[in-house]
Symmetry: C2
Subunit: 330 residues, 2 copies
């Protein structure tokens, strides 16, 4: 397997498993090792012959892994893990706390510059592919408006928030774009849309026995930040229906820029990018894998420090060489 990009997975939840699947689909990559904070013996991975190691032993395996893909969470894992691991590996993460990206970038950049490694942070679809589309569309159509719609899909944060309400045994929350808002945006009228006009929220809740459902519904619908600004529907279902109908993690959304061209801005233009994903973590993982390839190649050219999707020339992502790309894809 010489010449392959040796990928390490750091954290083996839904996202880590997704990266494992993505590596399987990319013939120029191989899975070198999986690192976990759990007992490595308790964990069995899908790829035959791949070792599972303790997270704290990662640094010792510097010569076995080319690119480490970090699959932890943005709240507490990545802010410390990404800078730490950038001292030993080229690293990729999907840090998605938009407001804290500048801070995270600075920490990772300092670490990566010291070690001479490359890091690509905030890869995925938002931040990630959606961000790229906002940038491209904004650069092409300076006179226009941006709209991002999310869904239909499961929001883990909102599902968790509902689960924390007393009397709730399980919950799943779907974010849904309002079809009329999408149509108005696509028509080019550049509407001003309130939070409530853009998305609705739909909750499926398994209540504990004897719990006051009216009270639960009221608590959901009035929850500040999460639900109060939205039209929310609450459905009470049983555990079996939850398992059968709502165990997937689909997601997706739309990035639309509507802008004007022409001397008097007489021409309308709509640029739309959309995703429809059966599995949010499997897709995010596929983006991470593509940026692992990019990081590996950019490092070979001597580049170092922290990058984002904005800094990565598209050709680095494809397994095809530039001549083939020009001939077959341009």
């Amino acid at each position: 397997m010489s010449g392959h990009i040796r990928i390490g997975i750091y954290g083996y939840g839904n996202l880590g498993k997704g990266v494992e699947c993505a590596v399987k689909q990319n013939p120029d990559m191989e899975l070198a090792a999986v690192f976990t904070r759990r007992d490595p013996k308790s964990l069995s991975v899908l790829t035959e012959g791949v070792g599972v190691y303790r997270a704290e032993d990662a640094a010792a395996m510097q010569d076995k892994v080319d690119v480490m893909i970090l699959c932890g969470g943005s709240a507490t894992d990545l802010p410390t893990q990404t800078p730490k691991l950038a001292r030993y590996f080229h690293v990729i993460d999907s840090f998605d706390t938009h407001a804290k990206i500048p801070e995270h970038f600075a920490a990772v950049d300092a670490a990566a510059k010291e070690s001479g490694k490359i890091a690509v942070i905030s890869c995925g679809w938002d931040p990630g592919m959606f961000s790229l589309n906002r940038l491209y569309a904004g650069a092409i159509l300076p006179r226009g408006c941006d709209y991002t719609f999310w869904g239909k899909g499961v929001s883990q944060g909102h599902s968790d928030a509902v689960r924390r309400i007393p009397g709730v045994a399980d919950a799943r929350q779907y974010t849904i774009p309002v079809p009329e808002a999408l149509e108005r945006v696509r028509s080019g009228e550049n509407p001003k849309l309130s939070t409530r006009q853009k998305h609705t929220r739909e909750c499926f809740v398994v209540a504990e026995e004897g719990a006051d459902r009216a009270r639960i519904e009221e608590e959901i619908k009035t929850m500040p930040n999460y639900f109060a600004d939205y039209d929310t529907t609450v459905h009470f279902i049983d555990a079996e229906e939850m398992r059968e109908e709502h165990s997937g993690i689909p997601h997706g959304g739309f990035v639309i820029r509507s802008g004007r061209t022409g001397w008097e801005e007489e021409y309308g233009n709509v640029i739309e990018y959309s995703l429809k994903l059966d599995s949010n973590p499997a897709f995010t993982a596929s983006v991470l894998a593509a940026y692992a390839r990019a990081a590996y190649r950019m490092a070979k050219e001597g580049q170092q420090g922290c990058k984002t999707v904005f800094d990565v020339a598209p050709a680095y992502l494809s397994p095809l060489d530039k001549e083939t790309l020009r001939r077959s894809m341009l």
Copy 2:
């Protein structure tokens, strides 16, 4: 206006005018000069105070123009003009003869490397933004199928082909994606689609007085390469209706990749990019202007030679600096 990117326009047809409009929308650019093969005195441009010069005098104005945007045609203009002007300027073109891109790239690359200039060829939307979306989507979803649909929009090449038929005074041809084909692709079934199943063609024809309309219709519908493989509708209209209803140059289309993720490829994913453009040349010109900015910045960093959209990191396209981009768009 110091510090502005001084743009030259080489060729002042629909595309050249579009570039002029795009420059007006970008506060970091200014239009420095327009070059034409016609008599410069016969040409009046929209921007106040901008000089019009003879095409052959361009080289003498090397110190007045930072980036020259070539607005000629791909058949005979750009293959000679882009390499020639790359000896004096950073150049941008929209060369769109897909099969000849490798040859054009080689000629422009040699010229630009000799002069130390930078060139970005084949910018626009196809090749251009559509190509980028094919590349990104293919890198993220290695197991999948690509689909490109064009339209609804005016095809200049097909309109010209109809106009060459004896008895035709004027003609406009629209390329239209078949809605059922689009829906099948979006559903994730990855259908094999014939040429006829993907697009239909609709022609509006002004016949000369006394011309045999049945013969014209038959000649259109059976024309090899252009129409024979499609279901084509022909409408005969009068010159007034042509002027009132069909004088615009709208276009657009869809790039869709449908691919599978998961260990057993159990998850479907659809990535869709679409454009809806009131004016094809005005939009193409807006893409050219954004890549002129990119070329200018890449040149400042010492890069040279021929590039395509695949080689340009997205951040170069935006007027915003990288820190602002990370904070506001990621």
